[in-house]
C-alpha cells in the first residue's frame, strides 16, 4: 500500500488513441460512443472513427463480424481519429486478429481472456494461443476474464446467463475509465437514463461498469491512471455531434432561416439512413419526411415538393445516387431548388457499404446525360457538415438549382465537438417567390444570379408548365430551336459558374506559399491538417487548402496553387480531384491515393509531403505510379 501511495496519482499525457474491438453483438459502437461523450463533456478535443461490418450479426467470433470504434482525444486540437491506437480492447480472438497490427508497439492490449478457448482460436486461424505463445511480447498485455467478472458483478439481479454476459462491454468501459482517470458518476447517470425502461438492465450495466472500474483500481500495480487534461478550445457552448445528425440539423436550420418547408424524400441505404431518421423527428420544424418506394421515387417526390414551393431534399449513397441520375437532370432542367446528399461509401456497385471512400466525385460532377452542370460541395468533418448542408440549401434556393452535397461514411459515423453556431449570425436565405403576374415569363432570369422565377402553384395569373424538354430561353415553353438549345446549354452552365462569385476567399492553413500545397476535399481534412502541421514542424514550408466547393471551383484556386512549387492531392480514390483540376484548370499535381475503405493515416500524408518537398519535378511520375492517366 505504501508503495502505491508513493507513486504519482496519475501520468499526464497530451493525447491518447483507444480502439474498442469485438463481435458485432458485443456493443463496441455503444462503448465507443459512451467514451466519446465522456471525453466531450470532460472538455477534451476528439475525433472518432467507427468501423463496422455490413452484416448486422455476422457469425459470432469470426473476423468478418469484428466491429471497431476508435477515438483520439487530447488536451489540444484534434484533427483525426489517430493512426495507431495506444490502447486496444479486444473482446475476442477475432478482434485481436484483425486489429493487433494497428496497435502501437509497446501499446496497451486489453483482452477478454474468457474467449480465448481452443475453438475460438481455431476459428480465426490462431494455431497457438497468442496469450501464451509470446507473440504479444512487444505489448503491454492485460488479460482479464470479462465474462466471469461481469457475471459475478450482476449476480443476484435475476438475469439470464446471456443477458448477464451482454453487460461485459460496460465492464470494459469501466476499466478504460479507470485507466484514463475518468470519474464514474456522469456515466452512471447516462446508463440509468439509457436503460430507464428496464431498471434491471440499468442496474446490471451500472454494476458491470463499476466492477470494471474497480478492477482497474484493484490491479493498480499494473497501471497508473493516465490523465489527459481538457483541451484549450475556444470559449462557447459545444455539442458532441455525429455527421449524419449534423447534416440533418444544417438542413433544419436552412429551413428555419428561409421560411421554407423541408420535404425529404428518401429510401433506406447505408450509411445515409440516419439523416432520414433524424429529420423524421423534427416535424414541428416544418420538416416532412417521406420514405419512398425506391430511390427514384424519393428524388422525384422531393422535386414535386420543390415545385410546390417547399425545399426538396433527397439523401442516399452512391448506388442510390446512380438511380437518381435521370431525375437530377430533370431538376436542373426545370431549374428549381433541390438538395441531393450523397453519403459516399466504398464502390462500385454495392461495394463496401459500411466503409468510407470518396470515389463518387466524378459521378457528382460529370455523371449525367447531356450537358448537365450541377453545383457540388463537400463536407470535411462531422461538425463542418452542418455548415455545408446549410450552404447547399443556400445555393439551391438562391440559384434555383439542384445541388449535390458529398459526405462520406467517416463523416457520417464519426463525431467531434461542435461549437454551437450563433443563430443570429447565420445568413438568411430569401426564396423570393414570384407573385406578380405582370410581364411574367417562366424563364426570365435574374441578371446577377441567372436564377429563374420560383412560383408556387396557387398563385393566380402565373399558371405555367415545366418539364424536361428543352425550354424556350424566355417563356419556358417547349422549344426545339437549334440556337435556343445552344443558348440554354451555355446559360445553365454560366448560372452554375456564377455561384463561385458568392464564395468567400479560400482559406489556407499553414504557409501561404512554399514547397508544397496539399489540396484536399472531404473527410481527408483531419489527416491532412495534422500531417501539414507535423511537416511544418519538421521544417517544410507547406500549406493546406481544403475545398468545400468542388463545382464550380473557387475563383482564386489557381492563383493560390501557383504560390507553391508542388501540389499534392490525397484522395480515397484513384485521383478524381486531381484529374478534375487538371481538366478544368490545367493544374498539375501529384496524387496520394488510398482505396482501402479506411481514412488516411497522418503518417502517410506527412510522408508524401516530405517526399514531394524533396523530389525534383521531373521524377514524380515514377514515384507515383497510381496516377489514373498512367492506367489509361
Amino acid at each position: 500500500m505504501t508503495k502505491a501511495a508513493d507513486r504519482p496519482s496519475h501520468k499526464d499525457l497530451e493525447r491518447a488513441v483507444i480502439r474498442f474491438a469485438g463481435d458485432s453483438g458485443d456493443g463496441m459502437q455503444l462503448t465507443g460512443t459512451e467514451f466519446a461523450r465522456e471525453a466531450a463533456l470532460f472538455g477534451n478535443d476528439f475525433a472518432t472513427f467507427p468501423d463496422f461490418p455490413a452484416e448486422i450479426r455476422a457469425p459470432a467470433g469470426t473476423t468478418a463480424g469484428v466491429s471497431g470504434y476508435q477515438i483520439q482525444f487530447a488536451n489540444h486540437d484534434v484533427f483525426s481519429p489517430g493512426d495507431a491506437p495506444d490502447t486496444l480492447v479486444a473482446m475476442n480472438p477475432a478482434a485481436l486478429k484483425v486489429h493487433l497490427e494497428d496497435l502501437r508497439k509497446g501499446g496497451l492490449l486489453i483482452v477478454n481472456e474468457a474467449t480465448f478457448n481452443a475453438s475460438s482460436l481455431t476459428r480465426v486461424g490462431f494455431l497457438t494461443n497468442p496469450l501464451n505463445d509470446h507473440s504479444l511480447d512487444g505489448y503491454s498485455v492485460m488479460k482479464v476474464d470479462f465474462d466471469k467478472l461481469t457475471l459475478a458483478a450482476v449476480d443476484g439481479l435475476g438475469l439470464s446467463q446471456k443477458e448477464a454476459a451482454r453487460c461485459k462491454n460496460f465492464f470494459a468501459l469501466g476499466l478504460i475509465f479507470w485507466i484514463y482517470g475518468r470519474e464514474k458518476s456522469r456515466e452512471e447517470k447516462f446508463i440509468a437514463e439509457r436503460f430507464k425502461k428496464t431498471p434491471q438492465f440499468s442496474e446490471a450495466n451500472i454494476r458491470a461498469f463499476r466492477a470494471g472500474h474497480a478492477y482497474g483500481e484493484t490491479v493498480e500495480a499494473f497501471q497508473t491512471p493516465m490523465h489527459i487534461a481538457p483541451a484549450k478550445l475556444d470559449r462557447g457552448r459545444y455539442r458532441n455531434i455525429g455527421g449524419n445528425v449534423a447534416t440533418a440539423l444544417g438542413l433544419v436550420a436552412a429551413g428555419q432561416l428561409s421560411g421554407l418547408r423541408l420535404f425529404l424524400g428518401s429510401y433506406p441505404i447505408t450509411p445515409a439512413s440516419d439523416i432520414l431518421h433524424e429529420l423524421s423527428k423534427h416535424k414541428r420544424f416544418g420538416v416532412m419526411t417521406f420514405q419512398a418506394e425506391d430511390e427514384i421515387a424519393a428524388i422525384c417526390a422531393a422535386i414535386g415538393a420543390s415545385f410546390g414551393g417547399s425545399l426538396g431534399i433527397t439523401t442516399s449513397s452512391g448506388p442510390g445516387i446512380a438511380l437518381k441520375t435521370e431525375a437530377m437532370g430533370l431538376a436542373l432542367m426545370i431549374e428549381l431548388p433541390l438538395v441531393i446528399i450523397n453519403v459516399q461509401r466504398g464502390g462500385p456497385s454495392t461495394g463496401l457499404p459500411t466503409k468510407t471512400e470518396q470515389s463518387d466525385l466524378f459521378q457528382a460532377i460529370y455523371g449525367r446525360n447531356g450537358e448537365s452542370p450541377i453545383p457540388v460541395i463537400a463536407a470535411r468533418s462531422p461538425a463542418d457538415v452542418f455548415d455545408v448542408a446549410f450552404e447547399a440549401c443556400r445555393i439551391a434556393v438562391e440559384y434555383r438549382t439542384p445541388v449535390i452535397m458529398l459526405s462520406d461514411g467517416a463523416i457520417a459515423n464519426g463525431s467531434e465537438p461542435w461549437p454551437l453556431p450563433d443563430i443570429s449570425k447565420l445568413p438568411r436565405i430569401d426564396p423570393k417567390f414570384r407573385t406578380d403576374p405582370a410581364n411574367f415569363h417562366a424563364y426570365q432570369r435574374d441578371e446577377e444570379t441567372l436564377a429563374r422565377p420560383w412560383v408556387k402553384p396557387g398563385t393566380p395569373g402565373l399558371e405555367h408548365r415545366v418539364g424536361g424538354l428543352e425550354k424556350d430561353a424566355l417563356t419556358g415553353n417547349i422549344s426545339y430551336d437549334a440556337h435556343n438549345h445552344e443558348l440554354m446549354v451555355h446559360t445553365r452552365a454560366e448560372k452554375v459558374q456564377r455561384i463561385a462569385r458568392s464564395f468567400p476567399p479560400s482559406t489556407i492553413f499553414g504557409d501561404p506559399d512554399g514547397e508544397v500545397l496539399v489540396i484536399g476535399w472531404g473527410s481527408t481534412y483531419g489527416s491532412i491538417t495534422q500531417a501539414m502541421i507535423e511537416a511544418r514542424a519538421g521544417g517544410i514550408r507547406c500549406g493546406h487548402l481544403h475545398l468545400r466547393h468542388l463545382w464550380p471551383l473557387p475563383l482564386d484556386l489557381m492563383a493560390i496553387a501557383q504560390r507553391y512549387r508542388r501540389v499534392l492531392i490525397p484522395e480515397m480514390n484513384t485521383g478524381q480531384l486531381k484529374l478534375h483540376l487538371r481538366g478544368q484548370l490545367g493544374l498539375e499535381s501529384v496524387g496520394l491515393n488510398k482505396i482501402q475503405g479506411k481514412p488516411f493515416h497522418v503518417a502517410e500524408v506527412r510522408a508524401a509531403i516530405e517526399s514531394l518537398a524533396q523530389t525534383p519535378a521531373a521524377t514524380e511520375a515514377a514515384t507515383h505510379p497510381t496516377q489514373p492517366e498512367a492506367l489509361a
Binding site: R37, A40, L41, G43, L233, D234, R235, G236, R237, Y238, R239, N240, I241, L249, V252, A253, R261, F263, G265, H282, K283, R284, F285, M288, F290, A292, E293, D294, I296, A297, A298, C300, A301, A302, I303, G304, A305, F307, G308, G309, S310, G312, A327, G329, L330, I334, L420, P421, P457, G458, T459, P460, E463, H464, R465, V466, G467, G468, N477, I478
Partner: protein, 333 residues
C-alpha cells in the same frame, strides 16, 4: 369568398399548339377534361397536372393550369411529393400504359397503396406510341408489333386488377369514344378523396388503330360493355335483356337472364372482391365500364399533415436554438 367561379372550358385551354396525331383519341380526353374543369369550383391556379413521358404525358402543356411534365414513369412520385407538401392543391396525374404500368409500375402501385389524394388518368392504347409502336404491358398476348414481329410472348396485365390488388379506393373504366360516359366518370373521380384511378381506353390511329373496336364500336358495344350503376342490377345487351350472376360453382361471375337475381352493383362494398371480379370480366363476358369501386379510406397526405399537427402539441424544442442545444452539450469558459 367566391361562390361560383366565372370560368369556362376556354379558360382551361393553354396557348400551346396541341401536337398529337390527327384522329388521336387524346383530343377527346383533353376536351372532356377541359369541359369538366369549370364544374369543379376549384380556382385554376390551385390545379396541377403532372405527367410522365409518352403521348399522353404531353397533356399538361395543353391545360391552362399549373403543369409538370416529368420523366418516364415518375409522375406518381412527383405528384405524391407535391400533394403531401401542398394538400391545398388539386393534383391530377396523366399517364399511359407504358409510362404508368411498365417503367412506372412500382410508383403506380405505391401511389395506390398510399391512397394519395390524386386523380389518375391512365390512357391505355395498348401500344408505345411516342417511340413508334412497340408492345406495352397491356398489349394482347401474341400481338405483332415493331418490337415483336413474331408476336408478344409476355402476358398482359389488367390495370384495374393491378390497382385493386394494391387496395385502390377508387377504380373506374371508361372509353374515349363515349365522351358522355367519360365526362361522368371523370366527374366521379374528381369528387373522390384518395387515389382515384380511371382507366381510359384510348385508340391510337397510327400504331394500334381499332384497338378497342371489338368492345366499343357502335354496333357491338351494347353486348360487349357492362355499364355499371351503383345500386342497380348489372344488365347489358341492347334491350338490357342479359344480367350478371354469380357462378354458384365457384367465385366467378357469369351471364344469365336480366330478371331473376341479376347482381346489384355495389361500388361501396368494403371488400374488393366484387370489384376484382368485375375488373377481370373480359370476352366472352362484357367488359365492366364505369365506377367499379369507390370506398372511403385515409389518405397519406391527410395523415402526414395530421402527424405534423400532433407533433406541434408534443413536448420538445420549440425553436432552432433549443434544437441545436439538445444532446450532449458543455460550456468552455
Amino acid at each position: 369568398m367566391t361562390a361560383l367561379l366565372p370560368l369556362t372550358k376556354k379558360d382551361f385551354v393553354s396557348d400551346q399548339e396541341v401536337r398529337w396525331c390527327p384522329g388521336c383519341a387524346d383530343f377527346a380526353i383533353l376536351a372532356t377534361v377541359q369541359k369538366l374543369m369549370p364544374e369543379l369550383g376549384v380556382p385554376r391556379e390551385n390545379i396541377v397536372f403532372v405527367s410522365g413521358i409518352g403521348c399522353s404525358s404531353r397533356f399538361p402543356y395543353y391545360m391552362n393550369t399549373y403543369g409538370f411534365h416529368g420523366i418516364h414513369g415518375r409522375a406518381p412520385a412527383i405528384a405524391t411529393g407535391l400533394k403531401m407538401s401542398r394538400p391545398d392543391l388539386q393534383v391530377w396525374v396523366v399517364t399511359g400504359d407504358g409510362d404508368g404500368l411498365s417503367i412506372g409500375g412500382n410508383h403506380f402501385i405505391h401511389m395506390i397503396r398510399r391512397n394519395v389524394d390524386l386523380k389518375v388518368l391512365l390512357f391505355d392504347n395498348r401500344i408505345y406510341g411516342l417511340t413508334k409502336g412497340q408492345a406495352s404491358p397491356t398489349s394482347e398476348l401474341g400481338k405483332k408489333t415493331k418490337s415483336t414481329p413474331f408476336g408478344t410472348v409476355d402476358r398482359p396485365f389488367n390495370p384495374l386488377a393491378v390497382a385493386l390488388g394494391a387496395n385502390a379506393t377508387f377504380v373506374a373504366r371508361t372509353v374515349a369514344t363515349d365522351t358522355n360516359h367519360m365526362l361522368a366518370t371523370l366527374r366521379r373521380a374528381s369528387q373522390h378523396k384518395g387515389a382515384a384511378f380511371v382507366h381510359i381506353w384510348q385508340n391510337c390511329p397510327v400504331f394500334n388503330d381499332g384497338a378497342f373496336d371489338l368492345m366499343s364500336a357502335r354496333e357491338v358495344r351494347d353486348d360487349q360493355l357492362l355499364r355499371l350503376e351503383h345500386g342497380k342490377p348489372m344488365l347489358f345487351g341492347k334491350a338490357k335483356d342479359k344480367g350478371i350472376h354469380v357462378n354458384k360453382q365457384g367465385f366467378a361471375l357469369e351471364a344469365g337472364a336480366a330478371d331473376g337475381g341479376a347482381l346489384v352493383h355495389d361500388e361501396t362494398a368494403s371488400s374488393p372482391t366484387l370489384a376484382m371480379a368485375l375488373a377481370n370480366l373480359e370476352d366472352p363476358m362484357p367488359w365492366a365500364m364505369g365506377v367499379l369501386r369507390a370506398v372511403p379510406g385515409p389518405t397519406v397526405d391527410e395523415m402526414a399533415q395530421e402527424q405534423e399537427k400532433q407533433a406541434m402539441t408534443q413536448p420538445g424544442p420549440t425553436d432552432l436554438s433549443a434544437l441545436l442545444n439538445q444532446g450532449d452539450t458543455w460550456e468552455i469558459e
